[in-house]
């Protein structure tokens, strides 16, 4: 850097933050120039979030210094950060569903301006950055991509000098990602610096001009991502290249799970009603359901798992038997097992030990055969030990509380618990959400192995890459409707992306011949 160059917009020097059990950031330094799009790449738990919270004033570091526009500065709290021009778009939105777009944005701005001025600013900014938004629509009627636009708009109207985006594309269709990137490039060209947090290598390579890689809280590389390959970035991020999956040809058996014209109203406040959903899964295949979250996945999973037993009679069938109104236990005894999306709270009881957590889905095997049906703690513990050993779970033994495990290890345990029950049908929601790359590869390999052994597997996921890797066939769910299925080898990311916005034509000839 020459002497005349302006100071970096943001400079972090030797930031360290320790928590009781882990060092979240260990001597992290990074520097972002004005108008630069800077990636922070790392796995879940690598310390990205902590670092951003430090910049945004939500967490205080133990040591180190931060320079903002050349001057030492630590934000006292998020409000202080915003007033200095640091703005953040969260992974989980902070919007108010029943309020309008303009009202939502107004709430994030300071008191002095009026609502009609906000409307004008929205219109002006929308035009400038290509962010179309209707100011008077209530937020609950917007798609997830539009909601994110509201969040970004809210940030833009504070005229930020530094915009932090936390995993912004996890909820977007591929087409929406392209639009977002165009907006971000334009924003950067206008002088705003952007910190882009992600674990998606392709995105970082196409968008960012600089990249700081974190692993285990330490900086493991500072690179220009445009000159790197996925493999080299991956090596920096996880220290190894992810193992390749072996995908054998499917040996199809009988139809195991059959969903026929399932129409079901949602229980949730702003839920999605299921609209004539039909799909089937045969033994020995993995069928995937892609889609942006909130398009009916939760409602469909609840109807399949038995959590919501109000599906119309005959609409859900397991090997020809009607299970539409059967409770979860009955479905399990027929061979249908389920891995929910929320690990803590649905998949496992956070404060209970792993052994106790076996009782959630395996209590039939663990109970004695006599009338009292007492469960055997010893058998539960030995089952936990088996799962830990077989699925390579890193945990403090079978008595470790579920919440003490990392996301990846707990997910391995829960998937392992269901797989070791020898299911005939396994339904998995978000198998690798928030799971590190190594554990994700292992879970995917286990699912493929299960399929090769003749189990019918249904995977609901928002990660397209994962579905392309795992599935034999794919559906897309959008606004409570399900697309026809398409064989993975005939599908492309673009096509699935289009379908994700609900645009599939009924004339698609891709419906599998076995339908």
């Amino acid at each position: 850097m020459s002497a005349t160059a302006p100071p970096p917009r943001l400079a972090l020097r030797h930031i360290t933050k320790r928590y009781p059990s882990v060092v979240a950031n260990d001597d992290v330094s990074l520097s972002v120039a004005p108008g630069e799009i800077h990636a922070v790449l790392g796995e879940n738990g690598a310390g990205k979030s902590t670092l951003m919270k430090i910049i945004y004033g939500a967490v205080k570091p133990d040591s180190g210094e931060m320079l903002f526009e050349g001057r030492p500065f630590f934000a006292k709290n998020p409000r202080d950060a915003r007033s200095h021009g640091i703005s953040m778009v969260f992974q989980h939105f902070s919007l108010f569903d029943t309020l309008s777009v303009a009202e939502n944005i107004w709430l994030g701005l300071d008191q002095s301006i009026r609502l009609d001025q906000v409307r004008e600013q929205i219109a002006a900014t929308a035009e400038k950055f290509g962010l179309p938004l209707e100011a008077d629509r209530p937020v609950h009627t917007l798609s997830v991509g539009e909601r994110q636009r509201v969040e970004i708009m809210r940030s833009l109207l504070t005229q930020p000098k530094l915009l932090i985006l936390d995993e912004p594309t996890s909820v977007l269709t591929p087409q929406a990602v392209d639009k977002l990137f165009a907006t971000l490039r334009q924003l950067a060209a206008s002088g705003c610096s952007i910190l882009y947090i992600s674990h998606k290598l392709d995105e970082i390579r196409s968008l960012c001009t600089n990249c700081t890689v974190l692993r285990g809280g330490r900086v493991t590389g500072k690179v220009d991502p445009r000159e790197e390959s996925n493999a080299s970035l991956s090596r920096l991020m996880i220290g190894a290249e992810p193992p390749l999956l072996l995908h054998r040809d499917a040996k199809l058996g009988a139809v195991a799970l059959d969903v026929k014209q399932l129409t079901l109203k949602s229980d949730a406040m702003f839920g999605t009603n299921l609209d004539h959903i039909s799909l089937h899964v045969r033994e020995g295949e993995i069928v995937g359901i892609a889609g942006v979250s909130g398009n009916g996945q939760q409602e469909l999973l609840a109807a399949l798992s038995g959590e919501n037993p109000r599906a119309p009679s005959q609409s859900v069938q397991l090997f020809g038997a009607d299970i539409a109104s059967a409770p979860p236990n009955r479905r399990r005894s027929l061979g249908l097992f389920f891995v929910p999306e929320e690990r803590l709270g649905r998949g496992a009881v956070p404060v209970h030990s792993l052994a106790m957590n076996n009782l959630l889905t395996r209590h039939h095997e663990l109970a004695s055969r006599n009338a009292l049906a007492w469960v055997s703690p010893a058998r539960s513990r030995s089952l936990a030990k088996d799962i830990i050993a077989r699925f390579n779970v890193k945990a403090g033994g079978d008595s470790a509380a579920a919440k003490s495990l990392s996301g990846g290890n707990l997910q391995k345990y829960i998937v392992g618990r269901e797989i070791s029950a020898k299911p005939k049908v396994l339904i998995v929601a978000q198998p690798t959400w928030g799971v590190d790359v190594g554990a994700a590869a292992q879970i995917r390999a286990e699912l493929l192995k299960l399929r090769d052994e003749g189990c019918a597997v249904l995977v609901v996921s928002e990660e397209l890459e994962e579905l392309f890797e795992l599935c034999d066939r794919m559906h897309v769910i959008a606004k409570g409707k399900l697309s026809p299925s398409i064989a993975t080898r005939d599908a492309s990311v673009e096509l699935i992306g289009e379908w994700m916005s609900g645009l599939w034509t009924t004339s698609v000839a891709a419906e599998s011949t076995t339908a």
Partner: protein, 305 residues
């Protein structure tokens, strides 16, 4: 004709305490807090209002005392339910029981006492109109004030930034917190404002409506007001209409008894509560109606991070 005018007048008069209390509870629930202590707050306010009006001889001091007592009781509830995150429902029930006991204790001295004669409230010439004058223009000022409060609340909630912040807190306290709003403080102030209105309603009962102090004199009006907030789907003007409707049912019951209609008095006393239950059932059948109006965080505790 004249009987109808009297019935309308009685309906407005009986609906007013319900309206004021419902509007107060509506503010509470708009920020996401259910205060089942309405009955208790009203009783404490009723006895305090009566006592002050009796001692000072000025009913307006009585109203002020009632408002202050209601706000204090609500503040107590707020400290427990908002700051210490005690269960809102249990805490509210406790407040109702506590209020019943405390008001009876304070009121021992005042049982059987009478307030000074009240002036007539006539409008210059409107009160002399046939029918309309009797029905609408011979009321205590508080009756008109209740209508003004309802209109002001519509303006506050839907036209001002403060109202937007209140609704936002009730919708998602987590998001409001993330934007930097002081959720617990806002909830506490909204609770106190609501408590003050409930207090005014209680004081109206003991100072104007009865006007005397009897133990447990609110006679379930706090509970009706709580039901009315749902009946009104948390909208001020609907709350006002609902309050008059329920006041009307109460009055009709007395009127029919006076006419010698052979319906057991007990059944007629049940009517407001039966109507409440019917209305609750009817509107819970219409999810979209509740969905767009009900504060999403209603009754849920909020823990700032």
């Amino acid at each position: 004709m004249n009987e109808l005018a009297l019935l309308i007048a009685a309906m407005l008069s009986a609906g007013t305490p319900l309206a004021i209390a419902t509007l107060g509870l509506l503010i509470n629930e708009r920020v996401g807090v259910v205060n089942l202590g309405a009955e208790g707050m009203m009783l404490i306010a009723a006895v305090c209002g009566f006592a002050v009006a009796f001692v000072t001889g000025n009913q307006w001091f009585g109203f002020l005392a009632g408002a202050a007592a209601g706000a204090c009781a609500a503040a107590l509830f707020g400290l427990l339910a908002v700051w210490l995150n005690t269960n809102q429902y249990a805490t509210g029930l406790a407040l109702t029981l506590f209020g019943g006991g405390l008001s009876a204790f304070i009121g021992i001295e005042f049982v059987g006492k009478k307030l000074a004669e009240q002036p007539k409230y006539d409008w210059p010439w409107l009160s002399d109109l046939p029918f309309l004058g009797t029905a609408f223009f011979k009321h205590h000022p508080m009756v008109y004030l209740a209508i003004l409060v309802a209109i002001a609340m519509v303006y506050l909630l839907y036209k001002t930034r403060l109202g937007l912040v209140l609704r936002a807190v009730g919708e998602s306290p987590e998001s409001a917190h993330a934007l930097g709003y002081r959720v617990r403080l806002i909830r506490l102030f909204a609770l106190m404002a609501g408590g003050a209105l409930c207090g005014v309603a209680g004081a109206y009962l003991s100072v104007v409506y009865a006007p005397l102090w009897v133990e447990g004199m609110t006679a379930g009006r706090g509970w009706i007001a709580l039901a009315l907030t749902v009946f009104a789907t948390w909208r001020p003007l609907r709350a006002l209409m609902g309050a008059y409707l329920f006041g009307g049912v109460t009055m009709l019951q007395l009127y029919l008894q006076g006419e010698g209609v052979q319906i057991p008095a007990q059944f007629m006393s049940m009517l407001p509560y039966l109507a409440t239950i019917v209305v609750l059932v009817l509107i819970s059948r219409n999810p979209t109606w509740i969905r767009t109006n009900m504060p999403a965080s209603l009754g849920k505790p909020f823990y700032p991070t």
